[in-house]
Subunit: 336 residues, 2 copies
């Protein structure tokens, strides 16, 4: 960088998670110039967390060797529900105590730059579409599968966000009628079967019911069972881990078949911690989704891993800015 | 009308169904000036059916008191799968023998007018959005529930048709994991529970299994059970009809909750023969869909009956033309 750099189109990407805060200075091409991370310490409440977040933003700008004048705008990715138009965080499950926080106003006042907010799954979808596994694709569905399942929908090359900015809750598509209760209050949602904690819970219940399994040796106790222990047991040929995993990929595959039938997408991108299972996940899920989807819709789609790894939060927040500026430009016709 | 009418922006709406052909001359405002209907007689094969269809089109133009010069373009609504871009009907289940029929080419050659093709569910969605229950709404999902379940998706005020023109197969969203086999080859699809024949089949199976019911008296035999006999039994308080119906509206409600969570739409429009059940259908389905959907997404949506009745086929085909012309205009920027 150095003081000679006068580029004024940097983006500040701000990723607010339940466990960590990450901030990065990003170029419009998706290069992360500098980044800073600290634990969220969500128990401190929104005021103190936001104060520390502001410090982190200043630190990232300094680390990038630039001044705030060189930041075109800031993007924020945060757990939903939120109101992207008003810039208000409503009451996300992963940020207890954050009730109707006018985050965009607070940060815009603090930094004197425009600020744009969207939920973290939409942000990640935008980043994968612009910089990662969805480049060049017009119609793409993104799913992040980790402690929950979030989704983001890119249609005709643009984020589809719905009537009030909350579209894409594909994790809360009901896949097992009157099935397991879900965190959302519903039943039988995809998230209630294919998220990390749901898989661990189903394995734990089976072990507690007395089904013999390596899992108990690996985890020490039923409560110790995690995605990692299941993966290990699976690789060692444990029948219980195999049964739970087979059921998981069947249900996820059936869910993706529905996504294919509904959206007729070109590509489905899967991100989040669960994709660390690699081919154990992708091979069966691809096969099952294609077999269950309608033939003319199964043909044009591919199901691929996300590419941006740990940078997806920061890049996603930056992509929110680019998407908002471009949509606005398209609306007023400056594109044509 | 009369020979003094020189208006040149009429649309010819052509609706090709498995049981009837309907053609209408339509104004851009959605007024049907003249219409003609005949049975399809699908057993005659595509060549003879298309020859009779052409005669029907000429009859409609004559009945409207206009000449072909006054038709701006023709729209065709037809069962899918089809290729809307190439104008080819692939192999619709309701038109046996129609394999890769280049319908747009045939009709454009015959009439010397531009011809646009889309599937009947998309066409109906466009008509309801433009002329019926979806007027003024940006984000709307349309479902037609009759012998099958078709869907059409309007997002940002435009038809969303997916990567290869086949999006919107909401009837083939899997709602009961590994449930009843569906016509599409999948299992547990919405269509396998909430379409007319599926409801009748479930009632028939229960009667055949020996469950006592008024249905047998009303229908004469298990094979005689139809949507009408189930409705009659339901109104007379028959417990079996009630159980089948409650299950149907529960599953349909759960399916619509998924639609709400995925699309965050402003409105869901339900059409097709099943909506003749009226409040027996709409009251519980509204309640169940809202209760099962995520709160911030359940609030902005309403679930309403389609408004266009028997004209939806002709108006839908006409709306396909208007949609195609306007999308093209928007693409080349003549709108801005």
């Amino acid at each position: 960088m150095g003081s000679g750099n006068k580029q004024t189109n940097y983006l500040l990407g701000i990723d607010i998670g339940g466990t960590k805060l990450a901030v990065g200075v990003v170029t419009p091409e998706g290069r992360v110039v500098a980044q800073e991370r600290i634990p969220t310490q969500v128990e401190e409440g929104p005021e103190r967390v936001i104060a520390r977040l502001q410090g982190l933003c200043h630190a990232a700008v300094t680390a990038a060797g630039i001044t705030w004048d060189q930041i075109r705008a800031c993007g924020v990715g945060c757990g939903g529900p939120l109101d992207p138009e008003c810039g208000v965080v409503m009451n996300p499950p992963n940020l207890p105590g954050w009730v109707e926080v006018p985050l965009v106003q607070i940060l815009a006042d603090a930094f004197g730059r425009p600020v744009y907010l969207d939920n973290d799954a939409n942000a990640a979808a935008l980043a994968e579409h612009r910089f990662g596994a969805g480049r060049g694709v017009q119609n793409m569905v993104y799913l992040t599968i980790s402690t929950g399942i979030g989704g983001g929908i890119i249609l005709g090359g643009r984020l589809y966000s719905g009537e009030t900015g909350n579209a894409g809750e594909i994790g809360h598509m009901s896949v097992v009628y009157n099935g397991r209760p879900c965190n959302c209050g519903g039943r039988g949602c995809l998230e209630a079967y294919a998220s990390g904690p749901s898989i661990a819970a189903r394995a734990r219940e089976a072990v507690e019911a007395g089904e013999p399994s390596l899992l108990l040796d690996l985890a020490g106790s039923p409560d110790g069972i995690t995605g990692e222990t299941i993966k290990e047991a699976l690789l060692r040929g444990d029948p219980l881990a195999r049964r739970i995993w087979d059921e998981t990929v069947e249900i996820l595959g059936a869910g993706l078949a529905s996504v294919i039938n509904i959206f007729n997408p070109r590509r489905i991108v899967l991100g989040g911690g669960m994709t660390n299972y690699g081919d154990l996940l992708f091979e069966p899920v691809r096969r099952i989704a294609r077999a269950r989807a309608m033939r003319p819709l199964a043909e044009p789609v591919d199901i691929v891993p996300a590419q941006l790894g740990n940078d997806v939060g920061i890049l996603g927040a930056a992509a929110v800015v680019l998407e908002r500026l471009e949509s606005r430009a398209a609306e007023v016709g400056s594109y044509v």
